[in-house]
Amino acid sequence: MLDSIGSNLQQYMDLLATRQKLVASNIANADTPGYKTKDIDFQFEYQSLAPGDTPNVRDVSGLKTKNDGNNVSIDREARLLSENAIRFNVASSLLKNQIRGIRTAIQEGK
């Protein structure tokens, strides 16, 4: 029964952490010649990934490539940075609530 507590939320947080790592890499390489923006297909991985597996890192389509071959858009990365952080916040608060709820339920039986 306790096994599946917040398993959805945990999967969500795992994928957000992976995405944030890729965003950090993209930002660090925003001026590296030939570097291509990396990302994961979030919704697809969330629906289909088994827990403990690593998601598929892919290149992003639809980005403008500069003269030196780099296609990092700093605006896109900044937007993703904030969005990931906020979503992670939300998920961890919801998870905290779930834990607290179950703990209360257990202790009410005293």
Binding site: S25, A28, N29, D31, T32, N84, K96
Partner: protein, 143 residues
């Protein structure tokens, strides 16, 4: 798959941008330098960025960090083009025909580059802060 490795990534980005900024500042300061210790005018320096896999300082050998790509300023290239020759017969460094060799530096270009380096540095700081917040939120779950 730890978030800590992406702190290293952002740190590498900051270091690279700082190296780039330092070289640009050097170029700007020496935009009119006609005399260097090696003889000849100052030659413009440029930095080469290269993607570089990063791991956290605490990670073990069994870690496979395929996702965390940092950056490293792998090389400093000196401009090998012929220097800019200007006709200034009275100049102490003028050669026999009255031409003085000046560095091939466009200050406006380098100023814009410097702004770009500063913006890149800020972006890396923002990334590091966001990741640090996420780690703190995870710790909060324990409370």
């Amino acid at each position: 798959m730890s978030l800590f490795s992406s702190i290293s990534v952002s740190a590498s980005g900051m270091a690279a941008q700082r190296t780039r900024a330092e070289l640009l500042v050097e170029n700007l300061a020496n935009a009119e330098t006609t005399r260097t210790p090696d003889g000849g005018p100052y030659r413009r320096k440029d930095v080469v960025f290269q993607a570089d896999p990063q791991s956290s300082a605490f990670s073990s050998v069994f870690q496979n960090e395929f996702q965390s790509t940092g950056v490293i300023a792998s090389d400093v290239v000196t401009d090998t083009r012929d220097p800019d020759k200007r006709y200034m017969p009275g100049h102490p460094d003028a050669d026999a025909s009255g031409y003085v060799a000046f560095p091939r530096i466009n200050p406006a270009e380098d100023m814009v580059d410097l702004m770009g380096a500063s913006r890149g540095y800020d972006a890396n700081i923002a990334a590091m802060t966001a990741v640090k917040d996420m780690i703190n939120k995870s710790i909060d779950l324990l409370k």
